[in-house]
Every structure is written in structure tokens, then in C-alpha cells.
Subunit: 129 residues, 2 copies
Amino acid sequence: MYNIGAAAEAAELPVKTVRYYADIDLVTPSERSQAGYRQYGEAEVKKLIFVRRSRTFGFSVDECRELLSLYQDRNRESRQVKQIALQRIEEIEHKMAELQTLHDELAHLAETCRGDSRPDCPIIKSFSA
Amino acid sequence: MYNIGAAAEAAELPVKTVRYYADIDLVTPSERSQAGYRQYGEAEVKKLIFVRRSRTFGFSVDECRELLSLYQDRNRESRQVKQIALQRIEEIEHKMAELQTLHDELAHLAETCRGDSRPDCPIIKSFSA
DNA sequence: GTAAGGCTTCCACTAACTGGAAGGTCAAGG
DNA sequence: CCTTGACCTTCCAGTTAGTGGAAGCCTTAC
């Protein structure tokens, strides 16, 4: 069992955020200690990690709720799970393509910058033209 | 010259957001029409697109301001431009790796779902275990 | 010339945190 | 046993980045 601090560290999230997720019933601790401390198990930590990754890429908290439910709702039809997953995958692929573009733009910028003190990155011209 | 609606469409951003960016002086229209309409040139539209891409991947508005200034501030030292760019590239690569993980998780989920009405995606077990 | 659609400002609201105060808990050291 | 420091609690206020809607002006098309 993890206290909130340990769970937050394991999931690479701020403690405040983990507490917030508990408040909104997105990822709730499996129990409370006598003193009222939130206690998280391995499964909850995995959920937190999954949520962090999903949030990082623009899925709203409500979408995360839906994605999480893919894993949790055993009554959901397999077909429906598959459909939602495929839809999200498409979005992710679009995001990846854009991220690649952003990456390439910055890489090109970095490359063409000579790294010395001359303030004449060629890309500046191409952009402001 | 683009009116705000055309600029927003070209940049794939909501009109409201473009207006907001003007309000906070992130991307300002190059001029106003007699009637007070915001007028955007090609350069501003490119900036809007750049901002949208950057925002999509977790750069804050203030970070976008910095990234934009890489393109605009001709007095900035090339070395400094390069350093900021390289730093952001590292972040982007990290984001891409996580996005890939998320993608693979969902792809695996979709694959292992049989697509019929049986609610027994194997990944559910692996997750909740 | 009037109706539709786009533009303006302003103000209120939302989502998703984030910071800080006031105070309880727990393990370690003196 | 007691205290000190790190960690936990709730509650409330503030922030960021939009977003929705009202009231009203502008432009184009029939």
C-alpha cells in the first residue's frame, strides 16, 4: 500500500493532483488508514500512470474516465471497447504526426542556428516572410 | 488579409481562441479594418498554427511566447535560440515516447478485443490484477 | 432594404489544477 | 516521553486557458 506521496511519486504526478483525482472520483484510493490517510494499491497506481499519460496528450478528464472504464467495466461489450479504442488511436496518430512536425521545425531551427553569437537563424526569415 | 474567422479556419483554431490570443498579446492581428475588424496576414496565420501545435503538446501560453520569440527576436543570440530549441526538443522526444506507449496500449487493447459481443478483453485482467 | 451571417466588446462561467492556511499523524533522535 | 520534521488531512482562494452568451455594429446577397 502506498500513501498518497508514494503513489504520486510512483505515478509521476503532483500530490495535489492525485488528491484532486480522488475528489472527483477519477482514481479513488482503495482504502483509508485509521488516521484517514488515502491508501493506494498497485492497480490504482497503474491507473494514475495511465491517466497521466492520457492527460498529457489532450484527453480530458472525462475522456480519461471513459478510457479507464474500458479497463474496468466488464459488462461493456467488446465491440464497443474496440470502437472507442480505435477512435482514440486515430486521434493519437494525428497528434503524433503534429508532434513530429513540431519536432522537425525545432530541430531544423536548432540545426540552422550556428550556436555562436551571431543572431541570424535562417528560419527566422522563412517564418516572418 | 484574413478576417478573424478566416484566420481561425486557416489555423484550425476556434475564433474565440484567436481573439483570446489577441487579447493577451500572444498573436496580434497586423491591423484593424475601419470597422474595427481584426486583420491577419500570412505571417500571423503561421504563428497561430505554430501556437496551436505547441499548445497541443503541453507548452503553456508563456512557453509559446518564448518559442515564438525565437522566430521574432532578431537581437537574441543564436546560441540562446539553439539552447532553448534543444531543450524543447528533448521534452518533445519524451512526449513522443509516452504518446507511443499510450498508442501501443490502446492498439493492444483494440487487437485483443475480439470485436464481437463478448466482454472479455484480456488486457482488462492484466490491468486490474 | 432587410435578413443572414460575421464581427465587436464585455462579463460570467468552466476545467483542471495549484497554493496556502490550520491542524492532525508518525517515525526518529535526544 | 517528548519534540521535531516530514507527511498527511480539509477547506478555500487563485490561476490558466479558454468558452458561452448577450447586445449591438458591419457587410453582402437577394
